[in-house]
């Protein structure tokens, strides 16, 4: 017998779970397909969870979600080979009753999120890969064929939450495979450390957590960033760069990570830790200009598959959750009007997402990916070095008159970029930021 559902959701990551949960809690029959052994088995993220976007889906998530630490301190580090110039923000305001952001471990978190969707009635099949979208004679997506024996499952609408590679959608020609300069490859390790040591090393207590974002020489001139997040009894450390940069330079991600771990500012933080796991993942970084068509006849695409990721603010999962929720709400509205899931009707999803922070934020930074890419040498090598030299000149006391030191700093700036270069860089960054 051919099974039929109101909606099939492909994938059980942030976007897929948000969509499945929202659809199921509105009373729609939902089938969710996940290729991993369990939800989260294949999912990789740093990972920071932003509470607000999850609250819109599960308001009381703090009661039982597997959260690691709430973030009270954020450090931004501009790295040279042997130094870092830091900026950090720590506030007691982040020790609020309902904290704003948490570190999480996706393999645990996604399992919980998916359970929540199942409690609402969504049916989840794990270790089941969707191979192909089934279309009718008019090109409307009407179902999915899986890798299990027994044929096709039908649905009024398919929600593609299949992640950054998005094979199903690209195979069906709904969108193109992301280009090498639109995706970053990030690698990360989880290092086990006793909670007492983490608290001591990062100057935190209880469930407090620290986030370090590091840019500069660690990416060897490529557009990319390193990070270190504290979990309950581990730290996640990773680094990612644009894939086309890796290809051009021939550097391998794990070499970069090894180097990052050995940086004199990072090494003491990992001292005595034991590596628990190693993971790698692609991150969509193409921004606004890389976002493909978001809907069609019988389908919508959400999350990473739709390139919904804000590289500047290191936000991805909240865009994923929001797009999943909005797609589900659009589907629910169409369904309640007893109308078919045509492209015309599903354009409601695009309208909703354009009105949300998701597209507004991506639009704001639409020129940033290109800028980071073309200016990567300057932004990731020259400036951190200049800042570092200035700091060292300022701090080192060696009998040189201060006037000479300042002159040295200024002439270093000028020599490296020239006045026009400096002004140009400032204008370019300001424009992309605006």
């Amino acid at each position: 017998m051919i099974e039929r559902f109101d909606a099939i959701v492909i994938g059980a990551g942030m976007a897929g779970n948000a969509a499945a949960f929202t659809l199921a809690s509105r009373g729609l029959s939902v089938l969710q397909l996940e290729r991993g052994e369990y939800p989260g088995a294949k999912n990789v993220q740093g990972a920071i969870l932003y509470a607000n976007m999850l609250e819109k889906i599960i308001p009381d998530f703090r009661e039982d979600a597997p959260l690691e630490r709430h973030v009270v301190e954020q450090r931004f580090w501009f790295m040279t080979e042997r130094a870092h110039t830091g900026m950090q923000y720590r506030s007691e305001e982040f020790n609020e009753e309902r904290p704003n952001r948490y570190t999480i471990i996706r393999s645990q978190f996604d399992r919980w999120f998916s359970k929540k969707a199942q409690e609402k009635g969504a049916i989840l099949l794990t270790e089941t890969t969707a191979l192909e979208l089934v279309q009718d004679a008019y090109g409307k997506v009407i179902g999915v064929r899986t890798d299990r024996a027994g044929g096709t499952i039908m649905a009024d609408v398919v929600v593609l939450a299949e992640g950054v590679n998005g094979l199903l959608g690209t195979r069906a020609g709904l969108r193109k495979t992301p280009k090498a300069d639109q995706v970053a490859l990030a690698v990360k390790e989880m290092h086990f450390l006793a909670p007492e040591i983490i608290e001591q090393r990062f100057n935190i207590q209880g469930d407090e957590g620290v986030v370090i974002e590091a840019a500069g020489a660690v990416s060897e001139g490529m557009a990319g960033m390193g990070f270190l997040y504290t979990n309950k009894e581990s730290v996640s450390i990773g680094i990612g760069c644009i894939v086309s940069d890796f290809a051009e330079t021939g550097t391998s991600p794990y070499q970069l990570l090894e180097k990052f771990k050995k940086h004199p500012s990072i090494r003491p933080l990992l001292e005595g830790s034991e590596v628990k796991e190693y993971a790698a993942h692609l991150i969509p970084e193409g921004g606004f200009k890389a976002v493909p068509k978001l809907f069609g006849n019988g389908w919508v695409v959400v999350g990473d598959a739709a390139q919904l990721n804000n590289a500047v603010h290191r936000e991805g999962s909240n865009l994923a959750m929001t797009s999943g929720r909005l797609a589900a709400e659009a589907i629910f509205q169409i369904k309640s009007r007893r109308e078919p899931m045509t492209a015309d009707n599903l354009s409601l999803y695009e309208k909703m997402i354009n009105d949300s922070f998701v597209m507004k934020d991506l639009k704001k930074y639409k020129d940033m990916p290109a800028l980071l890419h073309t200016q990567s040498q300057n932004l990731f090598l020259t400036y951190p070095q200049l800042v570092s030299t200035a700091m060292e000149n300022f701090l080192r006391v060696d009998g040189t008159p201060k006037v000479d030191k300042e002159k040295a700093t200024v002439s270093a700036l000028k020599a490296k970029r020239g006045w026009t270069g400096l002004v140009g860089d400032a204008v370019r960054v300001a424009r992309a930021w605006r």
């Binding site: 099974e3 645990q108 049916i123 989840l124 099949l125 270790e127 089941t128 899986t146 299990r148 024996a149 027994g150 044929g151 499952i153 086990f192 006793a194 391998s252 070499q255 005595g272 034991e274 628990k276």
Partner: protein, 284 residues
Amino acid sequence: MHIVVCIKQVPDSAQIRVHPVTNTIMRQGVPTIINPYDLFSLEEAMRWRDKLGGEVTVLSMGPPSAADSLRKALTYGADRAVLLTDRFFAGSDTLATSYALSAALAKIGETFGAPDIVFTGKQTIDGDTAQVGPGIAKRLDLKQLTYVSRIVDVDLTSRSIVAERRAEGGVQVLMTQLPALVTMLEGTNEIRRGSLDDALRAARADVVVWSAADAGISDLQKCGLRGSPTVVKRVFAPPPRSEKAELVETHGRTPAENAEALIDMIFARAPGVEADLVKSVSGF
């Protein structure tokens, strides 16, 4: 025909870690799996069901989370799942476990039909005792076939079973009467991939959950820690290996150079390997 397969949810031993400071086993966050030996029995059970008709029931004793493993067994194609769970079972050794499972098997017989064959795995990967299966056979007076490498025939008319059993120095071919308890050897078959229908049915199925009382167990003295004469005196991790892994620096070298470097390293460590290789290549 009614076949019952007893399965156990175990920590994935490949992913168990030892706490570097306290030297104790860290159970937190270790993924669980169906005891791999049980899967050979489950597959064998389903093959005979497919051949002769009937049903396969999977039974497990464990915490409520063991329902995940039972559901997985349904995804593979089992027909029904029963979970025996009760705080009174906590801390059971093999004696107490076989007592509780035997009671549940009797109850399954009353509720869903008497089993013709009960399968268990050869042993578990966490306890490694291989005692629970034989314990059940003894308690329920089932004919016992352990370490079976092949079931040759099951005849429901004459109620007999013929099986090949691996023994020291050869293979025994044994015939006995049903009902029997069988434990399958590893590698005798491979667990199937359930169809879409199986997967959907499993996702929608309710696992039957029984407490001690539901299973008709009245003597709680025989359950859990109280019913377990085995005492765990100490758990410890073997000392870590003193040898360190060597790193081959591959950056900027050709694959051929990397291979050379690797082989040199192996030969330096184990000169015998080089000698053997030279011998075999030159045909001496």
